[in-house]
Symmetry: C2
Subunit: 168 residues, 2 copies
Amino acid sequence: MKLTESREKFINAWGTLGTSWGINRTMAQVHALLLISADALTTEEIMEELNISRGNTNMNVRTLIDWGLVQKELRAGERKEYFVAEKDIYKVFKQIAKERRKRELEPIFKVLDEVKKVDGDKRDKNIKAFVDTIEQIERFTTKADRTLETLIKADENWLMGSFMKLMK
Amino acid sequence: MKLTESREKFINAWGTLGTSWGINRTMAQVHALLLISADALTTEEIMEELNISRGNTNMNVRTLIDWGLVQKELRAGERKEYFVAEKDIYKVFKQIAKERRKRELEPIFKVLDEVKKVDGDKRDKNIKAFVDTIEQIERFTTKADRTLETLIKADENWLMGSFMKLMK
DNA sequence: ATAAACTTTCAGAAAGTTTTGAAAGTTCGG
DNA sequence: CCGAACTTTCAAAACTTTCTGAAAGTTTAT
């Protein structure tokens, strides 16, 4: 398979994967493109490679920068901005985990906390079913969250070490 | 806060969370409703509680059954089907992980495998950047996948034990 | 065999999300 | 301060996904 074809295939696959993880297709594709490019790219180059508009490119590159997955690179004597992706895949997953934790897990914790203060007799089976479920979810997610936090803070070797241990 | 209000709040939060994880909002809401209900519910009851159509209810309940998160419950002498959710939250997350692994990780492995067989001189920096990235992703995802598989197969206590260890 | 009680399907409508592209904004050298 | 080179914004359009509800299908009792 030719490089061009392989690249295209990978970019598409990454875009599809992104979609089912709640990340928009184009954002995932821009990320994939930058990941596999040896050099930093300009807006113009991204537009051309992916056949997308300037506005779309700008918006998605900006989001990737917000997520800490892409950085601007300035070149002496040039006006244009160049973009490079973080190439270390561990860092990439760590960043994503961090971002999503903030955007998704934190709000749910807030709701769980609020919602479990339901009033009424705990012997009522409907109240009991509700409270029990909420508490179980809270216990589980708190544990999962702490684990995630540990992983996020940990350095790469530690991360690998933990995975290794888990795998026995 | 009244039970009705709490329930509604939780159902909505769960629905929103689902959305950002690529699970459709209604499916997540039906799941939430069944999770917090003391008794099994009929299609009719789900329709009424969530204000959704018969077709929509049927489709989403069916998908939840496919995912192994909900079961049919038949009652002697009754024609209607009753639905109950798996209440053990560990099992719920395990099932979801299993499902998504099959639908999302497996296809990406296939692509990575295909795509890394790119032809051309490995000293070309573009080919090198591409192949290096693909290999890194493959190594990482394979490890993550094995860990996931181990977790899926493991029983609940083992799962908790592992989490505990990770948390130190 | 029929009818009642249910469940499933599916085409079109509605809702939600993403993309475009032109216009507005910014920055910098001279 | 001007104009060229770029970046950002945003309303409208295109696309995607989800939902509705009526019709078709299935099952069971008699």
